[in-house]
Subunit: 401 residues, 2 copies
């Protein structure tokens, strides 16, 4: 035994150098051990690509992968921030999802996803043994866009049994995402289930629709995966107009007018006809992340007779059209602060601390102009879903009080 | 005009050589023009992979792609069969999804999908201007597997308004798929919406759960993407047992016992508690495709006190355990044909005509043994989702009459 004991100790030290077990990413397909996540947030990725010349991992920043003798490329990252991250591989110049991860619609296509876990005590978006609501897929026809559309509707746990009416939150995704984002990447249903169980939030209906709304003939390319269709070079002189497709527009061309019209003409009436909804502006909220926050401000600030609660998560009207001027911005809706404060019960501005001071500056400018608002900062997170989960977790309890 | 007319004709003939317009696959991401489908069923695929040495398309069979000067690889296939097909690219040996298509969970991972349209008059799974039911995501805790599980529940268009009780169809996916298959690849909700609108089917609830059910400690690798983890070579002599993972099992190890136990202990009671369900075996059906058909036969034939309607779509108990013997197969459930026929209102065996004679032979053997059954053959389709859409469209009207 005298000889064996030191050997055991050496073994223990060696495995200790690995900084703990690399646990499979919770978003992996069944059976996939990689990507996996170390306790310190480093993640190890693998891809079988025996004949590739170069493989790169793209998860916020780029990591070159190294080929093993078995044709499997691998890399271990530096520690990643907690929360959900989209990621992809570049295989000899092809941008593709990792076949070992479930995919998540972002940037206009189905990316891979990795979840860097928060500490175990952070469980506001975990599956807990509490009553669960449901998320329902609902098809409806839009007269404005002349197309069938799909939304998802969260109904709270007591919806079927209680037979009462509920307030409604319209909750929007960001650029390049869709109506599935909030209940997959965002875990909105679990966040509300947990808040409602703890009586921190009023039971509410949440409507998750798609920002994409173009009338027949309108250009919808703003919403597509622009990296796939790089800006073409200018056509040679003499090329007939229309002979090549227009380059996708930037966000600068975004007005949100068609979505607002569609929402008020088709979506909200369908919801209020289909679900047991409390009527009136004091039972109606709208919030969104990034471009969905922009949409929220565009829709609600032009329709304060219809909305009393407004949330912008990493997206608002702050930066639009140059400097903010309380007298003229958004058609002067902020000019009479007393009237605005009386109407708008909650004006919420959330942001990740890594995203920069835009939202904070806007909040301070609003405060200076006498506009009551709530500023929320998610510590240590960027323009990503963990910021928006935290925003929803802070915003929802403020609604419909 | 005399000179112009022939020129027009020539133009017409030139474009005629291309056999019509290549229309974007309906399952593409927003804005993606490829893959596209010609009227004759040929499809053109593209992938940007400027540094790749070899790119192959895999859609049933393999097609080598050709690199253009712009780094875009492309190929036009031979005509593909109508309906939904999974497909992937092999990029220098890496099996990946096409970033230009939405992904669909099959073979244990998120593949790409292409839809070769049926003629326009075939619209039983199209969005039509009829009342639509909804598909709801429902979380529940399984005491049998000791895990949270997710199912999707279709409720018919009049569910909220009518306040009545409904019969239930439990509808299972195939190997490597999941609880999302039937309402994405399968379009089960649209098929039922259309059947109900035409009064061809009784309004019913459809429960779409996940075949994967393993108790703590049970091996669940049968359900994983086996191609990703090829059979390892035998370990060197002297390797301790358990030092390397066991190779995934084949379907031969599938008994379905844990799913049956989970379904009867956790799923069905949750459904009957949560939804307005008609009680009793004459209001309960189960069907499934491929492995889900095997599961259906395993579950229902051992529990005829609970099910009166049984459907196997490209999957049944026919081939299990050697030749079918009406006296002994499935613990002798077919031995007393009169008793069986009295109990089982519909025994449905569907198959694609390209799949071979297995289901037909089984149907004939059952008939010969005096067992009443319905044989349905989908013309020209293989072991694919169009076969199963057609099966459901034929099977659902037979239920709960």
């Amino acid at each position: 035994m005298r000889f064996l004991l030191p050997l055991f100790l050496v073994g223990g030290l060696c495995s200790g150098q690995g900084a703990g077990e690399c646990k499979p990413n919770s978003l992996n397909i069944p059976g996939a051990k990689h990507p996996c996540v170390y306790p310190d947030g480093r993640a190890e990725f693998r891809l079988t690509a025996p004949d590739a010349q170069k493989v790169q991992l793209r998860v916020g920043k780029n990591f070159d992968m190294v080929k093993g003798g078995d044709g499997v490329w691998s890399v271990t990252t530096t520690p990643l921030v907690v929360g959900f991250h989209y990621y992809t591989f570049a295989v000899d110049g092809a941008n593709v999802a990792d076949p070992a991860s479930r995919t998540f619609f972002g940037s206009g296509w189905d990316n891979s996803g990795i979840e860097i876990p928060e500490p175990p005590e952070v469980d506001y978006y975990a599956h807990k043994n509490v009553p669960h609501g449901q998320v329902s897929q609902r098809w409806y026809y839009s007269t404005v866009t002349a197309k069938w559309r799909r939304c998802y509707v969260y109904t709270p746990p007591d919806y079927d049994a209680a037979k009462k009416r509920y307030p409604v939150l319209y909750l929007m995704h960001g650029w390049g995402e869709n109506e599935q984002g909030w209940h997959t990447q965002g875990r909105a249903d679990l966040i509300l289930d947990n808040l409602i169980a703890e009586k921190k939030a009023v039971p509410m209906i949440i409507v998750m629709d798609n920002l994409n709304a173009a009338k027949p003939g309108e250009d919808a390319t703003i919403f597509s995966a622009r990296w796939m269709w790089p800006q073409p070079p200018p056509p040679p002189a003499g090329t007939p107009a229309g002979a090549r497709p227009a380059a996708p527009r930037g966000l600068a061309g975004f007005t949100g007018a068609t979505f607002t019209e569609m929402m008020l003409t088709d979506l909200a009436p369908m919801i209020e006809k289909t679900y047991r909804v409390l009527p009136g502006r004091e039972h109606r909220a709208m919030a969104g992340l990034s471009m969905g926050g922009m949409q929220t401000f565009l829709t609600t600030l032009s329709n304060l007779d219809k909305f009393a609660y407004i949330g912008g998560f990493s997206g608002s009207s702050g930066g639009r059209g140059g400097a903010f001027d309380p007298k003229t911005s958004n058609n002067g809706v902020f000019a009479d602060s007393a009237a605005f404060n009386k109407k708008v019960k909650v004006l919420f501005l959330g942001i990740g601390s890594v995203e920069g001071p835009g939202a904070k500056n806007f909040s301070e400018a609003l405060t200076k102009a006498g506009i009551r608002n709530t500023y929320f900062e998610s510590p240590g997170t960027a323009h990503e879903w963990l910021t928006w989960r935290r925003c929803l977790n802070d915003f929802a309890p403020r609604l419909f009080r």
